[in-house]
Amino acid sequence: MRRSLILDVVVRVVFHSAFLLGLFLLFTGHNRPGGGFVGGLVAGAALALRYVAGGIDEVREALPVRAWTLLGIGLACATGSAIVPLLAGRELLEHFKGEVHLGPMGAAHYNTALVFDIGVAFVVVGMTLMLLVAFGERLPSLGNSWARQETGR
């Protein structure tokens, strides 16, 4: 695979910031624009950048988990957080908010909807990863032809 130096360097700079932005959107999502879906999309876009720069191997290096695992954890997490309030005799998907006092660091606002959002983010990132793997995998029936064509030039 032919690599572009400029792209490589730019992706190396941008990847972590983009991933962080995704996390930021995930955590800020409850009261401001953002949330699990958008956060997951941005993090997924960061992964897609790695894919453009270095192919599927580099994506695997950046996120060494199977797409199925991410999807499963995400779905279980989101639906689990929807069911738990039912067990406590509350409504489906009901969420609670509160504040934790961290001494000198001040108070932190939390909301249990975050668990749901994290689940959604996992599902989105898992889907992205699955897509990249599906397109990036060397198909056994095609052999290595795509990669060979590119290096041949």
Binding site: T79, L86, E91
Partner: protein, 499 residues
Amino acid sequence: MNVLLALPVVLPLLGAGVSILVGRSRLAQRVVGISVLTAVTGVAVAILVHVDRHGPTSTQSGGWPAPLGITLVADRLSALLLVVASSMLLAVLLYAIGQPGAERSHVGFQSVYLVLAGGVAAAFLTGDLFNLFVAIEMMLTASYVLITLGGRLEQVRSGMTYIVISLLASMLFLAALAFTYSATGTVNLAELARRVPELPFGTQAALAALFLVVFGIKAALFPLYFWLPDSYPTAPSPVTAIFAGLLTKVGVYAIIRTQTLLFPHVLPAGLFYGIAAATMVVGVLGAIAQDDVKRILSFNIVGQIGYMVIGIGLFDVAGLAAVILSLVHHIVVKTSLFLTEGLIELHGGSSRLNRLGGMVRTAPGIAVLFGVAALALAGIPPLSGFVAKFSLMAAITAQHEWWVLAVAILVSLLTLFSMVKIWVGVFWAPAGPAGGEGPAEVEVAPGPSAPLLMLAPTAVLVAGTVAIGVFGGPLYELAGRAATDLLHPQPYLDAVAGR
């Protein structure tokens, strides 16, 4: 009670997640799938019993009140369909586990199947048009995966048709939702039922027609049925069985719900009769012209949907009760017919009529199963189809729609003919590719005998069609009560609004 309403939607989704996580162990996946669907079936029965005794019930998820939150609501119609649908899902899952093929070859089958189950349940239980869209999308997205499972060339080709048509319908649905929202300012069913009658008649008619087109594509009504016979037969048989049983019926349910609750008497009854007659005739003629078991059965799905639309046009208690009975009957019969087809394919190695034959001797068990289910579809007493068709024809007669009655009877006979065609081709004809003389050299080697896990669910469903016929009285009374609810929706609206 409120807790129960959420479970049919959430449990399958949770199961889907868990099923992916335990993907390494096929046994654990099966335990998860079977236990989730068993639980959902139990919950559905409990909901039906409760709703039949105490009237519609609802839950507002997240503790947000009605127009804001996700409202889940059950009345007799949705509870009844939920019971039938979840028991079909369970039976077909058992069958798929028993069958060599789909379920074993793909690690994601169980979880995608559970997502489909969650989507179907959500579509029946939602009290909000937008969430109906979400539920149908959930179900369809899962069905895109299931229909192309295996990835053979013709599967992907016909799967593409299916996906493109479904996406087109979804776009139209979204547009219809946007129009509805801009005209009324809400998508909540209770609010809509109050505000739609205040709109100018032209707007009401346009919205009603748009929703009819959208759900007509999903339910495979004439002239929007063409995608169905092309795409269904290529999928693995348990997948086709559950599609044939449930997906089009969700479309019919959506038509019933929107046309009775939001747009009563907006569209002329003649329109429904016309669509119904055309759907029935095209479906049954298409079925007769085919020479493949799966394709004949697929065209028959289209034909049978027509019967349900007649009842919506009749718009009285008897007519709607007949629709509900037809829905229940058709879900059970169609699923069992496709499951039997899977048995035929396993035994004979093909689904083409001219390659099969002589199975009445080599596989008498399958012959009995198919015979009973086929007669039930055609409407021979004392099976389920007779109850459904008799009640429908009684309702048509009461409204003196003689030409509709004539078409219904004619199509009934032709349906019987198409079933006889399968019977003769598969069971009576001499075995062999040529269907000719010399049985000795062209004798088809009988395939492996069907596993018990495939036979048992099929037998139970076929027994179900007999049971629907035998217990037709109580079931008809229940359907009548459900139809009365549809015509007097005030308790349903109160439940949706959370009062």
